[in-house]
């Protein structure tokens, strides 16, 4: 096991920059998740670490070893592919033994290590099966066992759960995490699934358009999102565009005045509010910011009601639309479009970001 350090990593294809100046330090034994929407450069970053893509700039260090220019077969990174990539013509045992064989470990010493790896992923006794005789979940475990058996310095997982059905995903999630802790493996996992990322990670890296937007723990990302993108991507936020007109005073585009402690720098800004900070109906009484909002649209989503409201009157140029999420408590009926509801939030509830676009 070892720490991993990625410095100023960059990848361009012609004029297209796919990964831009990525810096990540991963501690020994840490489980780091790269999270971001599809196409943001996660796989590219991971494949640069594994050595399958040559970086356009930057460096990668595993432990004390700079691996930036090493070919994949000299990096000792265990990669679990999204498609598992098991060798179809080899048995489960042969698949798992392959990495050991490449390290010139004598056959007599291989067998116990193969057995141990298969036991770890709960596939003891499957040695002689062929990949095509296994279910998707079992193939996934073989891929994991194969990567673990070679005792890699770092474990790399590319969307390892995306081909599993929902129920299995929950199970494997826990299994991978337990295994990783037990073995103290330095791990990078790539995913676009927010829930998966939040439940598994020690620390998360949020990427967008090839750039790292924020690195932090779940709590740091949720409570102090670094920018508007993270505020919308990790958990939900209701957004209002407008301007900071004076310290502590925000004015929406539609002209609604809002008191906001976080508003300090005067200029165009976006106010972000977490849904649980917004009170509805009688709960809004006595709050600094309190409005009669007009319901535009309401959706019933089971645990929550999602209500699209506008803060300013029907004749305002900008209606200041915002999306509320209200816990579906007993007795609450979803309001009809055109009705008004009272909403409110405290002065310290919002976060402000420079306005984009």
């Amino acid at each position: 096991m070892a720490r991993l350090s990625i410095e100023h990593l960059r990848k361009t294809y012609g004029d297209l920059t796919v990964v831009n100046d990525v810096n990540i330090d991963i501690a020994d034994g840490e489980f780091l998740v790269l999270l971001g929407p599809s196409g943001c450069g996660k796989t590219t970053t991971l494949r640069m670490v594994a050595g399958f893509i040559a970086p356009s700039a930057g460096s990668i260090t595993i432990g004390e070893r700079s691996v930036t220019t090493l070919p994949p077969w000299k990096r000792n990174c265990g990669l679990v592919f999204q498609s598992y990539a098991l060798f179809p013509h080899m048995t489960v045992a042969e698949n798992v033994a392959f990495g050991l064989e490449m390290r010139k470990i004598p056959p007599a010493d291989r067998a116990p290590r193969v057995a141990e790896a298969l036991r770890l992923v709960q596939l003891a006794g499957f040695d002689e099966r062929y990949p095509r005789q296994l279910s998707g979940g079992q193939q996934q475990r073989v891929a994991l066992a194969r990567a673990l058996a070679m005792e890699p310095d770092v474990l790399l997982l590319d969307e390892p759960l995306s081909n599993l059905d929902a129920k299995l995903r929950q199970e494997v999630r826990v299994e991978i995490r337990d295994l990783q802790r037990k073995l103290g493996l330095t791990t990078i996992m790539v995913t676009h699934d927010q829930e998966e990322a939040l439940t598994m990670a020690d620390r998360l890296v949020v990427m967008e358009k090839g750039e790292v937007r924020q690195i932090g723990t779940q709590r740091e990302l949720y409570e102090r999102p670094a920018d508007r993108f993270v505020a919308g991507f990790i958990g939900r936020s209701a957004f209002l565009d407008g301007d900071i007109v004076a310290p502590g005073r925000f004015r929406t585009k539609g002209g609604v005045a809002i008191g906001c402690a976080a508003a300090t720098r005067i200029g165009a800004a976006t106010l972000a509010l977490r849904p649980e900070r917004i009170a509805v109906g009688g709960e809004a009484d006595g709050l600094h910011n309190r409005f009669e909002a007009r319901v535009e649209h309401a959706s019933y989503l089971g645990a929550i009601l999602e209500i699209d409201v506008s803060l300013s009157g029907p004749d305002a140029i900008d209606k200041d639309r915002m999306l509320l999420q209200i816990p579906n408590k007993a007795g609450i009926a979803e309001p009809k479009p055109g009705e008004t509801i009272t909403i409110g939030w405290a002065e310290d509830a919002g976060l402000v970001y420079p306005r984009e676009g």
């Binding site: 179809p88 013509h89 490449m102 390290r103 194969r146």
Partner: protein
């Protein structure tokens, strides 16, 4: 209980298929039949049956020499064809090569080019080469093997590119990730996956070379004839069933080779 009657269309289709099959097999059936005729001049109905033509064929020295030469040339040409064709297929499928589609077509050319044309072209080429270099190319076994390699290559390129196209390259990456260098990756992962294509290519390439007459006619030297040419020469003098017996032996050998191969790789799946 109702039994569904086969539709008229279905019957017509089966009849057409049966007729085509009969049409293909008819010469084969006649050759087989002829090989067992007792009389020397083939005429119907047969006067009786005998196995003597088989021993005549097996003891005919030109046939034996021709068989051995065809075997040597076929094996050598097949190996050379694979040696050239497999890397060519890899390059064509995996790399964006300038004029790649053109090369692909060129490599398949010998399959569609009439044997006479190919033979003439190689004949002229070998003469020119001999004049230019002074090396004894004409009528040499090496020259023959080189020419036969040409008719093996299209089979290799066709069948190996077909098996490479459906090949999932991430398993090669997996091998490299586990510590295998490029050569080991090829040997342990790529090769086993395209082996059916290679085996089939070797078999069909060999059969094509072994049975080649038109091209070889231009290229054999004195005292060095392949089996098809030996048979042709024999036919110029005699038309007794020895030739039918020799052909039957050849057909059986090829059929056995195909059946044995099919046990290891399903030929119908790769061809």
């Amino acid at each position: 209980m109702t039994t569904t009657r086969p539709s008229l269309g279905r019957i017509a289709l089966n009849a057409a298929a049966g007729l085509s099959l009969l049409y293909i097999l008819l010469p084969l059936i006649f050759v087989t039949w002829l090989a067992f005729f007792r009389q020397e001049i083939p005429s119907f109905p047969p006067e009786g049956y005998s196995l003597k033509w088989f021993s005549a064929a097996a003891n005919n020295q030109p046939f034996i020499n021709g068989f051995l030469l065809s075997l040597q040339v076929g094996v050598a040409a097949t190996l050379l064809g694979l040696l050239v064709g497999v890397p060519a297929s890899l390059a064509l499928v995996r790399h964006r090569i300038v004029l790649g589609p053109l090369f692909n077509t060129l490599l398949l050319m010998p399959l569609v080019m009439p044997g006479i044309v190919l033979g003439t072209a190689i004949y002229v080429f070998q003469i020119e080469t001999e004049i230019a270099t002074g090396l004894p190319v004409m009528g040499s076994q090496g020259g023959l093997i080189a020419a036969h390699t040409l008719v093996v290559i299209p089979w290799v390129v066709r069948l190996v590119t077909a098996s490479l196209v459906g090949f999932d390259r991430t398993i090669e990456e997996a091998a490299q990730n586990l510590g295998a260098g490029p050569f080991t990756t090829f040997r342990r992962v790529t090769l086993p996956s395209i082996r059916p294509g290679i085996v089939a290519a070797g078999l069909f390439g060999f059969v094509t070379s072994f049975g080649n007459l038109e091209m070889s006619l231009f290229l054999v030297g004195p005292g060095r004839t392949t089996l098809p040419i030996a048979i042709l020469q024999y036919l110029e003098w005699k038309i007794d069933p020895t030739v039918a017996a020799a052909s039957l032996i050849q057909i059986v050998l090829i059929a056995v080779a195909m059946i044995v191969t099919d046990r290891y790789v399903k030929l119908s799946r790769v061809v």
